[in-house]
Symmetry: C2
Subunit: 451 residues, 2 copies
């Protein structure tokens, strides 16, 4: 596929410029900022392939962008999302998160790693394939949603209403990255998630802060109460302390699989700039991340802590907590266990509100789409990819793929220092163009592989 | 002024509809939402008077809306703001804060009490005066800014650049309300404010929450540390515990003034639905609110606590704190005392960021504009207004009026249950139309009163 690689090399500059343009457009599903504009930008890009993209809304969803192109024995579903996490410069960004900056071979911008680079290189790859070879050897279906970062709330209804649009023999999932050793990592599934808001209300109204001299301020006691509840949710090692969330024993097969994955806690610690819980071996750390549920405090506080000023005596404290769920545990189960736990610990006054819920998903390494990606990776990267049974993060893979029995695998431009969901999110440009070249091979291999 | 009152009665429905329209337009200076549209809506309304409004920006300010109309011996400056505080339904609103609802003779909407009703009835009053009497007996200057709720950061530069536009013999200030006994309250000044953000950073990066099984989550310790610092800022009675913020002794005149103000803590407690610090007499409570500095926690928290979901292991805790300053204390002084205090208590790692600062202001009760308002109130309300030396809240009165020696006084539609800055903000419609009628008399009296 030399001609394909040459074509990409020739379009390097314009492809990169396009990526910057995508990153410049805010698309924050949490607040709605820029969502419609982003959906239209994606659809326009797909038109450029000669496809006839559709913007489909389900109820009051943000638009799903759908397009289909090519013909052949096999059909590939490409799932991405055009929405990104919120970002404020004061979160620690070195620059405006929506003003992409290239530095040291990296492109920094909110959403570039999750998921605009992956979204775009796949489109560019199809374009390059068409330009060089005149036709695709298979049918490609793009499904690009705008609600992944808020838990894909409308996807079940979308799948129900448009089941015929997504039928496929395999799916390339939105994310994907290389590991610490530089080898591509393929995930064959992902963890589920239950994201809840816990809140506690004072028995007084919120009030203008000019009364502070004589009105009791409940911020500290409210927040203290919430903290006490949060502390009961985890044991000393940070594991969920809820009854019912104990980890089932691992199969011999999964234990063996764990041993094949290179994972060095010290490297994670340095590359991510975080502190790991002490005394974890690589295998044990990995076992926890892939096969244990987690409980994480995404935030807790009382009153106003957003940007700028609000002058009020607060009357409410809130915590945002997410539970990641290994294969076999459902969000409904966890919510029931959480309610029972708070009751049992005397926190009856704490309200639980479910903000997102996704099932875990997992597929076999023997599916044709997985084999196609492995072969393509060997060709371009010259190494064997690392196979993760599932990825520590979450997504609607169960709804979109597991229910329809469409094997899914990740392949993309992320790397361990990409700061996904955090400040200074970035990708390495070399990863971008290597993934772009590899994707042409994936199309090729998947079209021709035996079952 | 019977014809004037009849004119208002005849236009009651359209005036009210106009108020709803103003409230329907979000205008949140904190986020920028709807600001330009709101400025244009205000300017268009002023055009309706036959004035030629200007939208003036200073640096990257939101537009100041300025208009001048009428001629006469005296000039009246009318200062208002078209921006409002942030509002989310989940803060406790019974409905969308930007979908005004009329219930039990009240209009509920974010910003109606602070400050859209006051903004609009003054314009409508001038309109009615012109319609009934053909001309105004004085020159009226409207200055309506869009940054009051974020501390009027550009007003000093505006005043410097456009000093000629604001020269006047008296000023009607943006706010104003009735007291618990139903009598209008006139404020002759207001407290200053220093609003700071205190923050503390973990020595790890923020990170995607899918790593929670093996990464330490610093949310609780960070927030605990911030809580410890906040606890040192106040004594057991909630008074600022900083050196240098002791209250200076009150003059005999001010003590006597305090005795003239009807103020019942029990009523405040019930009407506002809050808990007062125990054991405060009316005079003592009032003394604290008007003549003591305050320290209030507007919010504290770690990580993400905003609407919707964000899945991250936090690395920063933040507190928003405001100090209200009695006449004689400046924001600069308080910030110095705060820095020294945190140093002295071992909280060197806590960052202080100033988000807003306003000087206190205070004027004489003998100014012509004050006498004009008192006389007008007597005529329309049939009672003597209560004179507050200053109001517990803050605003840029020092910058706009004190520096230029333009006596200012409040007169408006607020009342003790209006929930300013909180959920379910509202005004009573009877207050609105009574204020509208009264304002015609204010114009009249101010034009003709002796010095």
């Amino acid at each position: 596929m030399e001609a394909f690689d040459q074509y990409i090399e020739k379009h390097r500059k314009s492809y990169l410029e396009e990526l910057r343009r995508f990153c410049r457009q805010p698309s924050i599903s949490n607040t709605g900022k820029g969502m419609q504009a982003m959906a239209e930008m994606v659809a326009e890009r797909l038109s450029g392939l000669g496809a006839e993209p559709r913007l489909i809304t389900v109820g009051d969803s943000y638009p799903y962008v759908y397009a289909e192109i090519g013909e052949g024995r096999r059909t590939l579903l490409i799932y991405n999302h055009y929405d990104v996490q919120p970002a404020h410069r004061e979160d620690g960004w070195a620059h405006d998160p929506f003003d992409p900056v290239i530095q040291n071979g990296r492109l920094y911008a909110r959403g570039v790693a999750d998921n605009k680079a992956n979204l775009l290189f796949r489109i560019q790859s199809v374009e390059a394939y068409l330009a060089v070879y005149g036709r695709l050897p298979l049918r490609v279906r793009f499904l690009i949603e705008g609600e992944e970062e808020i838990g894909s709330p409308h996807l079940p209804r979308f799948v129900e209403s448009y089941a015929d649009l997504i039928q496929a023999d395999g799916c390339i999932w939105e994310s994907g990255r290389t590991g610490h050793n530089g080898n591509p990592v393929l995930h064959l599934g992902l963890r589920g998630i239950l994201y809840v808001e816990l809140s506690i209300q004072a028995d007084q109204r919120g009030m203008h802060s000019s009364w502070a001299n004589i009105v009791e301020n409940p911020a500290l006691p409210l927040e203290e109460r919430l903290r006490q509840a949060l502390q009961t949710l985890m044991d000393e090692e940070g594991r969920p302390a809820l009854n019912g969330l104990e980890t089932p024993p691992l199969s011999q097969e999964d234990l063996a699989l764990l041993e094949t994955i290179p994972f060095d806690p010290a490297t994670v610690q340095v590359e991510h700039g975080v502190t790991l819980r002490p005394g974890l071996s690589g295998v044990e750390a990995l076992r926890r991340v892939l096969f244990e549920p987690s409980c994480n405090i995404c935030g807790l506080g009382a009153g106003y802590t957003g940007p700028g000023i609000k002058t009020v005596i607060p009357n409410r404290a809130v915590a945002k907590v997410d539970f990641r769920l290994p294969f076999g545990l459902t969000p409904d189960e966890v919510e029931i266990h959480l309610r029972r736990h708070l009751q049992a610990h005397g926190f009856e006054e704490i309200q639980i509100r479910r903000l997102a819920a996704l099932h875990p998903a997992r597929f076999s390494p023997n599916a044709a789409i997985v084999r196609a990606v492995r072969e393509a990776v060997r060709t371009v990267y010259g190494v064997e990819p690392t196979i993760y049974p599932l990825m520590p993060a979450s997504g609607p893979m169960y709804t979109l793929c597991q229910v329809q029995d469409i094997p899914a695998v990740t392949f993309g431009t992320g790397y361990p220092g990409d700061n996904t969901h955090a400040a200074n999110e970035n990708i390495r440009l070399k990863d971008y163009f290597r993934a772009l070249r590899c994707f042409g091979r994936i199309l090729d291999r998947f079209a021709s592989l035996e079952d």
